[in-house]
C-alpha cells in the first residue's frame, strides 16, 4: 500500500500544494489571498481531486512558508528554508547553493546532502525581491510575464541607481520620458534586483551548482542578470514554484516513516479539511 503525504507552502503571493507518494502525485499553485486558511483548504481540495485521493488518504501533512501557522489541518509546521532545501535536493541533487526570489522576499540557502548548512534572507527591503519587478512592470505598463523576454532584447541595460523602490519608480519613469528604450529599462530593473540578490547570497560563500527557485526563476531576464552577477550558470528546477511544498511533502514522508519504523504514530492535527474561519 502506498502512503500519501502533502506539503502546503503558503507564500506571500502564491499558495502551493504537493501530494507525494512514490513521486509527485499532484501539484497545485494558486494565489495567496488574505485568508490563508480558507485558501489552503481550497487549494488542498483541488490537489486531492487531481490526485484522485480523499483527505483521509493523507498520512501526514506539513505546512511551510510565511502563512504556515494558518493551515489548521497541517500536522506540523516547518520553515520554508528547510523545505526548499529538501525539495530542491530531491530535484537537483548536485545543487549546493539555492537562490530563492519570491514575491516579497529573497533568500540564499547553502545545502549539504539535502540539509541546510546556512542561509540568508532579505525580508526588510522590496528592492531585492519580485515585488520590485512587479511595481516597475506596473509603472511601465508592461505585463509582468513579458518583462523577462523583453529584457533579452536590450542593447545596453539602463542604470537604476535608487535602492528605494519608490524612488526607483520615479527614476524609471523619468528615464523613459528622457528617451531610454523599454527593453533597456527592463533589463536595468533586472540587473538592479540581481545585484541586490547577489550581494545577499554572496554572504554565504557560494558553491556550485547554483539553482534558482521562486517566482523569480520564471523570469528569464532576471535569471540571466543573476548569472552575470554571480559569475556562474544557474540551474532552474522543472517547476521552480513548488520546491518548498515538495520539500514539505518529502519531509512529511520522512517524519511519518521514522515514527512507523519505531512502531509509533506521529501526532496529527485534530482539524479536518473543513473550512476554517480566519480569526477564530
Amino acid at each position: 500500500m502506498i502512503n500519501y503525504f502533502a506539503g502546503v507552502d503558503i507564500g506571500s503571493t502564491m499558495t502551493k500544494v504537493v501530494i507525494y507518494g512514490e513521486g509527485i502525485r499532484a501539484m497545485i499553485i494558486g494565489p495567496t489571498g488574505p485568508e490563508h486558511r480558507k485558501l489552503a483548504n481550497k487549494v488542498m481540495e483541488e490537489a486531492l481531486i487531481q490526485a484522485h485521493l480523499k483527505f483521509e488518504d493523507l498520512s501526514y501533512i506539513i505546512a511551510t512558508g510565511y502563512g504556515r501557522i494558518n493551515v489548521p489541518f497541517a500536522d506540523r509546521q516547518v520553515t520554508e528554508i528547510t523545505c526548499h532545501a529538501k525539495g530542491l535536493h530531491s530535484l537537483l541533487p548536485t545543487v549546493k547553493t539555492v537562490v530563492d526570489i519570491g514575491g516579497q522576499d529573497s533568500k540564499g540557502i547553502k545545502i549539504k546532502d539535502g540539509r541546510v548548512v546556512s542561509f540568508v534572507m532579505n525580508d526588510k527591503c522590496a528592492a531585492g525581491t519580485g515585488r520590485f519587478i512587479e511595481i516597475m512592470a506596473d509603472s511601465l505598463g508592461v505585463p509582468l510575464n513579458d518583462m523577462g523576454r523583453l529584457s533579452l532584447t536590450a542593447d545596453k541595460p539602463a542604470m537604476i541607481s535608487s535602492t528605494c523602490t519608490v524612488f526607483a519608480e520615479h527614476e524609471v519613469t523619468n528615464q523613459l520620458s528622457g528617451g531610454e528604450t523599454l527593453p533597456n529599462l527592463v533589463a536595468g530593473i533586472h540587473e538592479s534586483v540581481a545585484t541586490r540578490v547577489a550581494s545577499l547570497v554572496k554572504k554565504l560563500n557560494i558553491e556550485p551548482d547554483v539553482a534558482i527557485t521562486g517566482g523569480g526563476a520564471k523570469n528569464i531576464g532576471l535569471v540571466k542578470a543573476l548569472e552575470k552577477k554571480l559569475g556562474c550558470p544557474v540551474l532552474i528546477p522543472p517547476e521552480p514554484l513548488i520546491t518548498g511544498a515538495l520539500g514539505a511533502a518529502i519531509l512529511a514522508k520522512e517524519i511519518f516513516e521514522k515514527y512507523t519504523k519505531e512502531g509509533q504514530v506521529p501526532e496529527r492535527s485534530k482539524s479536518g479539511l473543513q473550512e476554517a474561519k480566519f480569526f477564530d
Binding site: V78, T79, E80, T82, V116, V117, S118, F119, M121, K124
Partner: protein
C-alpha cells in the same frame, strides 16, 4: 507616545534586581548636585570607571540611558530630535538618542526632563570620553554633545591595544601601548582634578582597582557556572546581569551582586533547574549588542528549547590570573595592562591556527567549553564597531573551525524601525531547524 512593552521575564531572581541598579545609577546623576558631587558623561569599557569612583564623580552612562529608552520603546522622540539637527539615522543610535535627549534637556533649561524614561540623566559637569579602538562615535559623540553643552569641558582619552597581525609578536609591542594608555589615564586624572577641585586619593584608587579585579574574577567564576547542563542562566539574563560590571565597576554593590548571582546559579545547578525545559540546543551569542526593545526574543529561543549558556557581548573581563599581568604599584598602569591583555590574550592562540583571528578564537573557545551547537550574531546596523566585522568573523569561523550553523540577526540597538518581530521569529525558526539537523548529523 511610547509603545510600552511588557518586560522580559528573567530566569534568575538576581537578574530581577537589575532595574533597581539602572534606576539607581540614573537617579544618582539627578541627585548629585544636591550632594555636592560632580556628574560626568561616561562611556562603557572606558578604563576610567575607577578614576571616577575614586574621585566621587557620578558617571552618567549614555549607553545605559539609551538602552532604557529603547527597552521602553520610547527612544523615537530623541532620535527624531537629533535627526532634526541633521544627525543621520545611520549614526550610532546610542549617540543620537542621548544627543537628542541633551537637546531636549537644554531647551528645558538644563533641569530634569519631565517625560524622560526613568527620569533621564542629570546635566553633566564634564564629559569623560574614551575612544579606544572601538569606533568613530566614541571620538565624535562627546564632541558632538559639547555642541549642545557649550560650558561643559570634554576629555577624550584613548587606550589602544596592539592590532592583531599573525606575522607579528605582540608581546614586544604591548609595553608601548600600556605606556601610552597609562599616560592617557594620568591625563584623565589631571582633568578630573581640575574640574572637581579635588586631588586624587591614590590609596583609595588602588583599593578600588583591587576590588574591580576581584569583581572581574567573581564575574567569570559566576558565568562559568553556566557551562552546566542544563545551563542555569542564558544570554537573555546576561544582558541584564552585565549592568554591575559595565556600569558599577569598582563598587562593593557590583561585587555583592555577582556573589548573590553565583550563589543562585549554584543552587539552580544543584536543583537541575535550567532555562529551557527540556534544553535541546546550546547556542553562543557570538557578537553584537542586542535590540533592547526586543529582549523577549531570547524567550522565543528558549521556547524552542534553545539556550545561550555563553555570549561574547558584555563579557568585558577575564580571570586576572589568566592575563598574567606584570606587577606594578601604579594603579593606572595596572588598569592599562588589564585592558591591553584583555584583548591580546587571545592573540597567541589565534596565531597558532592559520587564518584565524582573536575574536574567532574566542568564539571557538566558548563553543568548545560551553558545548554549543550553533552561533548567533546580531548585526545592529548603527553600531559600526560590532556590525562591520560580523560577516568576516562568521566566514572565518566556518573556514578555520567547522560548518557550524550560524544565524546573523539584523536590527538595531535602539532604532525600532529596523525590527520586524514576525520576520525575526521566522529566521529563528529556520535556524533552529538547521541546528537540529546539524546536531543529528554530528551525532
Amino acid at each position: 507616545m511610547a509603545e510600552e512593552k511588557k518586560g522580559r521575564a528573567v530566569a534568575t531572581k538576581t537578574a530581577a534586581s537589575i532595574p533597581k541598579f539602572v534606576r539607581g545609577n540614573l537617579a544618582a546623576t539627578l541627585k548629585a548636585k544636591e550632594e555636592g558631587k560632580k556628574v560626568a558623561y561616561a562611556y562603557i569599557a572606558d578604563g576610567q570607571d575607577e578614576i571616577m569612583r575614586a574621585m566621587d564623580i557620578v558617571p552618567a552612562w549614555g549607553e545605559s540611558f539609551a538602552g532604557v529608552c529603547a527597552a521602553k520603546r520610547d527612544a523615537e522622540k530623541y532620535l527624531q530630535k537629533a535627526e532634526s539637527d541633521n544627525f543621520s539615522r545611520s549614526l550610532c543610535t546610542y549617540a543620537t538618542c542621548t544627543i537628542g535627549f541633551d537637546m531636549v534637556r537644554e531647551e528645558l533649561g538644563g533641569g530634569a526632563v519631565p517625560d524622560a524614561p526613568w527620569g533621564g540623566m542629570g546635566r553633566p559637569d564634564m564629559i569623560l570620553g574614551s575612544a579606544q579602538l572601538l569606533c568613530d562615535p566614541r571620538f565624535k559623540w562627546p564632541q558632538a554633545t559639547q555642541h549642545y553643552l557649550r560650558d561643559v569641558p570634554v576629555f577624550v582619552g584613548s587606550m589602544y591595544y596592539p592590532p592583531f597581525d599573525p606575522k607579528m609578536d605582540h608581546h614586544e609591542q604591548e609595553k608601548f601601548y600600556v605606556k601610552y594608555a597609562t599616560e592617557e589615564l594620568r591625563e584623565c586624572v589631571k582633568f578630573c582634578e581640575k574640574h572637581t577641585g579635588k586631588k586624587m586619593d591614590w590609596d583609595r584608587l588602588a583599593q578600588i582597582v583591587e576590588l574591580s579585579d576581584r569583581t572581574w574574577d567573581l564575574f567569570i567564576d559566576t558565568y562559568e557556572l553556566r557551562k552546566a547542563f542544563p545551563t542555569p542562566m542564558d544570554t537573555g539574563d546576561a544582558m541584564n546581569t552585565m549592568v554591575p560590571l559595565t556600569f558599577n565597576l569598582g563598587t562593593q554593590e557590583a561585587y555583592d551582586f555577582y556573589k548573590q548571582l553565583y550563589d543562585e546559579l549554584q543552587q539552580k545547578i544543584a536543583n537541575g533547574e535550567g532555562v529551557a525545559d527540556p534544553e535541546k540546543y546550546r547556542l553562543i551569542w557570538a557578537a553584537g549588542l542586542p535590540s533592547w526593545f526586543a529582549l523577549g526574543d531570547f524567550q522565543y529561543f528558549n521556547s524552542k528549547g534553545a539556550v545561550f549558556p555563553v555570549e561574547v557581548t558584555y563579557r568585558g573581563c577575564e580571570k586576572i590570573e589568566r592575563l598574567e599581568l606584570p606587577k606594578t604599584n601604579d594603579p593606572l598602569e595596572h588598569i592599562a595592562w588589564r585592558w591591553v591583555r584583555y584583548w591580546t590574550h587571545w592573540y597567541d592562540k589565534a596565531r597558532k591556527r592559520p587564518g584565524s583571528l582573536p575574536k574567532v578564537e574566542r568564539i571557538i573557545e566558548y563553543i568548545e567549553e560551553y558545548k554549543c551547537d550553533g552561533v548567533v550574531f546580531h548585526s545592529a546596523f548603527s553600531c559600526r564597531s560590532w556590525h562591520a566585522g560580523i560577516i568576516h568573523q562568521a566566514e572565518t569561523l566556518k573556514k578555520v573551525y567547522r560548518e557550524i550553523p550560524i544565524l546573523i540577526l539584523e536590527g538595531d540597538i535602539v532604532d525600532i524601525s529596523s525590527y520586524n518581530e514576525a520576520d525575526t521569529h521566522n529566521r529563528i525558526d529556520a535556524f533552529i531547524e538547521a541546528v537540529d539537523s546539524y546536531k543529528k548529523r554530528m551525532n
